[in-house]
């Protein structure tokens, strides 16, 4: 049994990943999920993304707007607001320093990247 698997790592960084995806372009729930998966986070679950979006929205980091659709359901788009962009910047820096620390640690112990 692995001590760390992708699912566990995802829990810590899904907020950041969702914010990062939304920085490029606004998106609706399923679209955000697809972009995360295309970016390589294949194990992310729909409920996790939906729950994260609800939480970030409740925390005031996202705004929403509905785009009517002629074929199929209306879509609720999420976009970063100023607070969300701030949060992304701060979390991003934190992550980079954390990742650098981990990289160094693993490099020192002779682990290949």
């Amino acid at each position: 049994m692995p001590i760390v698997d992708t699912t566990q790592l995802l829990k810590g960084v899904l907020d950041l990943a969702v914010l990062a995806v939304l920085r490029e372009e606004d998106g609706y729930g399923y679209d955000i999920l697809r972009r995360l998966r295309e970016a390589g986070l294949e194990e992310v679950g729909d409920a996790s993304v939906y729950g994260t979006l609800r939480r970030l929205f409740a925390a005031g980091l996202l705004t929403t707007y509905v785009v009517p659709s002629e074929s199929g359901p209306h879509r609720k788009y999420y976009s970063l607001n100023a607070a969300g962009r701030d949060q992304l910047t701060r979390s991003g820096k934190l992550w980079r320093s954390f990742a650098t620390t981990m990289d160094t640690l693993l490099d020192d112990r002779g682990m290949a990247a």
């Binding site: 409920a47 729950g51 994260t52 609800r54």
Partner: protein, 339 residues
């Protein structure tokens, strides 16, 4: 689009039920967009929501974790308490599922039960055939189905219905909501029918075992509460005991008044003598006898009965006042020896 609005509503309902322990505001906030979101998901690809997203309960758990929702609850209304109870019951069922599994040699009991499903499909077909048998032949039936009393027709019907049941079983996961409910309802009807049939068969077996025991069916003494013995003089015999031909005591009735010699009821009730309740004698006990202690007791009716039976006895009675003649008008002869 293969996913119906109804399916989405259903799915959302189950997710909300699984989140029933959350405060109403939190749960509403978490799930207010869920129908729209699921509609998006449904529009993007094929398959049912459960196939795409997993069971609603698992979805709810993941959603709860991702949203970092607290697990406390306060000031909830009845609906939410009911939903919470349903959620708890589901969790307990799941727990029981995992606990019972190892007993059966499986990780979960449901895994084992799932293996039995094809067997149930066959049984269901058989039960349907038997139901048709009962309907078409009207009542009496054995173990094999008959169609209008015809055994061959019944067997053909049995095979057809078993095959149909298996086919239906394979397709049941793909059925829409109403057909699936109809299938479930029909299954319940068949199970009830099967239970009724089993009870019926059990009853019939019971008659064969015990049906000829006259005591249990109609005991002529079951209404007897007490026994009053009268001697040939019409006197109530007290402290009587009854025995059968083997010397075994015959117990009839039950004492429903205290034993005058045992007012606390500490003695063995089986040793009580008849009558239990002399006060309830159906024929009035003799009036306190006029003292006639010199009269010899039973068996030697005196020719001078001191009463006056002769006028009622007719002309022949004068010479031979038999014991029978002395019964009614013989108060003075009572020796009251048994007192």
């Amino acid at each position: 689009m293969t996913v119906t609005e109804q399916e989405i509503a259903n799915y959302v309902g189950r997710v909300r039920a699984a989140l029933a322990d959350l405060p109403a505001e939190v749960r509403d906030e978490l799930t207010e967009d869920l129908p729209e979101h699921l509609a998006e998901v449904a529009a993007e690809a094929d398959g049912t929501l459960v196939e795409r997203l997993g069971e609603p309960e698992a979805y709810a758990a993941e959603l709860r974790a991702a949203a970092g929702a607290p697990a406390t609850a306060a000031g909830r209304n009845l609906d939410q308490r009911v939903a919470a109870a349903v959620g708890r019951a589901r969790r307990q069922a799941r727990q029981l599922d995992t606990q019972l599994g190892p007993l059966l040699g499986y990780a979960r009991a449901s895994e084992f039960l799932r293996l039995l499903r094809p067997a149930w499909w066959v049984v269901r077909g058989y039960l349907a055939a038997m139901l048709v048998t009962v309907i078409t032949t009207g009542g009496g039936f054995g173990l094999l189905p008959r169609f209008g009393g015809e055994l061959v027709g019944g067997l053909v019907m049995l095979v057809a219905l078993v095959l149909a049941s298996i086919w239906l079983g394979h397709r049941s996961t793909r059925l829409r909501r109403w057909p699936r409910w109809a299938t479930h309802a029909a299954s319940v009807v068949l199970v009830v029918f099967a239970l009724a049939g089993l009870a019926n068969a059990e009853d019939r077996a019971g008659y064969q075992d015990y049906g000829y025991d006259p005591i249990s069916v109609q005991n002529p003494y079951e209404r007897v509460r007490d026994v009053f013995v009268y001697d040939s003089e019409g006197r109530l015999v007290e402290d009587a005991r009854l025995f059968d031909q083997n010397g075994a005591p015959i117990r009839l009735g039950y004492p429903d008044c205290p034993d005058p010699r045992d007012p606390n009821g500490t003695g063995n009730p089986l040793l009580r003598t008849y009558p239990y309740c002399p006060d309830q004698a159906p024929f009035a006990p003799r009036a306190p006898a006029a003292p006639a202690p010199t009269v010899p007791p039973l068996g030697t009716p005196t020719p001078e009965p001191t009463g006056t039976p002769e006028p009622t006895g007719g002309p022949t009675a004068t010479g031979t006042p038999g014991p029978g003649a002395a019964v009614a008008p013989n108060p003075t002869a009572t020796p009251s020896a048994t007192r």
